[in-house]
Symmetry: C2
Subunit: 222 residues, 2 copies
C-alpha cells in the first residue's frame, strides 16, 4: 500500500503555521492518537527515544504556559490539543546513564554483549564524533534534535488527516521550565523543554506559503 | 482530501533504519522529487529555512564520505540516493545577518517595517529566550534542529511511497566537513553538516521495531 505523490504533497501544502484555531472544533480521539502514534514511531539516534510528551488540556495549566510564550498567545488557548515536547538531559542521555542502559535492555531487548558494544560506540560518538560532552547544552540540544523528527511527523500526520497545527519555539525557556517544575511536576534535572506544538482547525485561511526554490537549496553531484 | 489513519500508520510502521539497500533498484525521479519537495515545504523556526541539501550520486564522492562514516558503511554505497543535509552557521543565522534579511525580503516578501519588527523579535529570541548566542555551537545546533524536521518529513514521504531510508549521524563530523570543503566545494564558514540520509529499497526485511509504550512517553493534564 502506497500513497500517491499528489496526495502526499497536498498534505504538505495544506500544513501551515496556524496562528489561531476555531476553539469550537475538537480533534477526535482517534485522530489525536494517530498523531501521537506517529511521534512514538519516529526514529531517533541510536533508537534512544529521548522524548516525553505533555498533553495539556487543562485550561489553567495552559494559561501558565501562555504567560511566558509570546509566540503562542492565540494558539495555546484556542487549540484543540496542546503538546509540550520535552527532551532528556545529560543525566539521562550520557553513554553511562541508567536510562540508556535500561532502554537497551528493556525496550530494545538487546543481550548483554550487544549492550556493551553499543555503549562503546555511543561513547565514542558522544566524546569524539559529535563532541556532545563539550557542555550540558550540546548534549541536550542533540536530544532536542531527535524530538524535531517527531515534531515534524506529528504535523505531517495532522495535515494528512486535515488537521491544522502550529509549532511553537516562541517562549522564555527558563521561565517555562520553572512552570513545568512547579505546576506540572516535571523533574527538570531529567527533562528540559524542546518545543511546543498545537493542533486544531484553522479559523481563517493562512497566508500563501513562501519558500526558497529547489535550485536555491540543493546541489547535485552526479 | 485526507488520508486514512490506517494508511498513515502503515507508512510509519514500514519505515525502519534500512542498513543495506538493493543497489540494483533505483528510486524514480518523480518519487525523489516528491521526497525533496517535502523537505522544501517543511516548516522551520521563523520560516528561515536554514538548510541546504547535497544530492550525492557520484560514486567517488560517496566513497570520500564513507571513509569517515562508520554508521553508513553499507548504506552509502548501496543507496539509490544519498542526501547530505547541511545547516547554516552563525554567519548566516544571526539576527543581523545578510542571509536572514535577504530571506525576509526576497522569499517572504516582507515590507521594510515588518522586517525591522521581525528582526527585533528574532534578536530577543536569540539573545534571551533561547540564549542561542551563548556559543557558535548553540546557534548551529538550533539550525540543525530545524533540519531534523525536514529529515523526518523526507523519511515519512519515502515510506508513504514504499521507499526505504536510513538516517546517518554515525560519522566524524570534523573529518566529513574537511571533505565537504575540499571535495564538494562547500563554504564551511557558512554551512556545517547536520546529518545524512539515504534512500533506496531494502535488500532484506528489517528487525521488528521496538519502542517505549505510549504510557511511558506521555502524561495527560486534563
Amino acid at each position: 500500500m502506497t500513497i500517491s505523490r499528489d496526495d502526499i504533497l497536498e498534505a504538505y501544502r495544506f500544513r501551515h503555521a496556524c496562528k489561531e484555531f476555531d476553539s469550537s472544533r475538537k480533534v477526535s480521539d482517534e485522530d489525536f492518537e494517530t498523531i501521537m502514534e506517529s511521534a512514538r514511531l519516529s526514529p531517533s539516534s541510536f533508537g534512544f527515544e529521548p522524548w516525553y510528551f505533555l498533553l495539556v488540556q487543562d485550561g489553567g495549566l495552559r494559561e501558565k504556559l501562555r504567560e511566558f510564550s509570546w509566540g503562542g498567545q492565540k494558539q495555546i488557548p484556542t487549540a484543540s490539543h496542546l503538546v509540550v515536547i520535552l527532551a532528556r538531559r545529560e543525566f539521562c542521555m550520557r553513554y553511562d546513564s541508567d536510562y540508556v542502559e535500561g532502554l537497551m535492555r528493556n525496550v530494545q531487548k538487546l543481550p548483554d554483549a550487544a549492550i556493551e558494544k553499543k555503549i562503546a560506540v555511543y561513547r565514542k560518538f558522544q566524546e569524539s564524533d559529535f563532541k556532545l560532552l563539550e557542555s550540558e547544552r550540546s548534549l541536550f540540544d542533540w536530544a532536542c534534535k531527535q524530538t524535531y523528527i517527531a515534531l515534524g511527523n506529528m504535523m505531517t500526520t495532522a495535515a494528512m488527516l486535515g488537521i491544522d497545527s502550529c509549532p511553537i519555539e516562541g517562549f522564555e525557556r527558563d521561565r517555562v521550565e520553572e512552570v513545568l517544575a512547579r505546576d506540572f511536576g516535571i523533574d527538570t534535572d531529567r527533562f528540559g523543554i524542546s518545543c511546543m506544538v498545537t493542533f486544531g482547525f484553522r479559523i481563517r485561511e493562512g497566508r500563501e506559503k513562501t519558500r526558497q526554490t529547489m535550485e536555491e537549496i540543493t546541489r547535485w553531484y552526479r
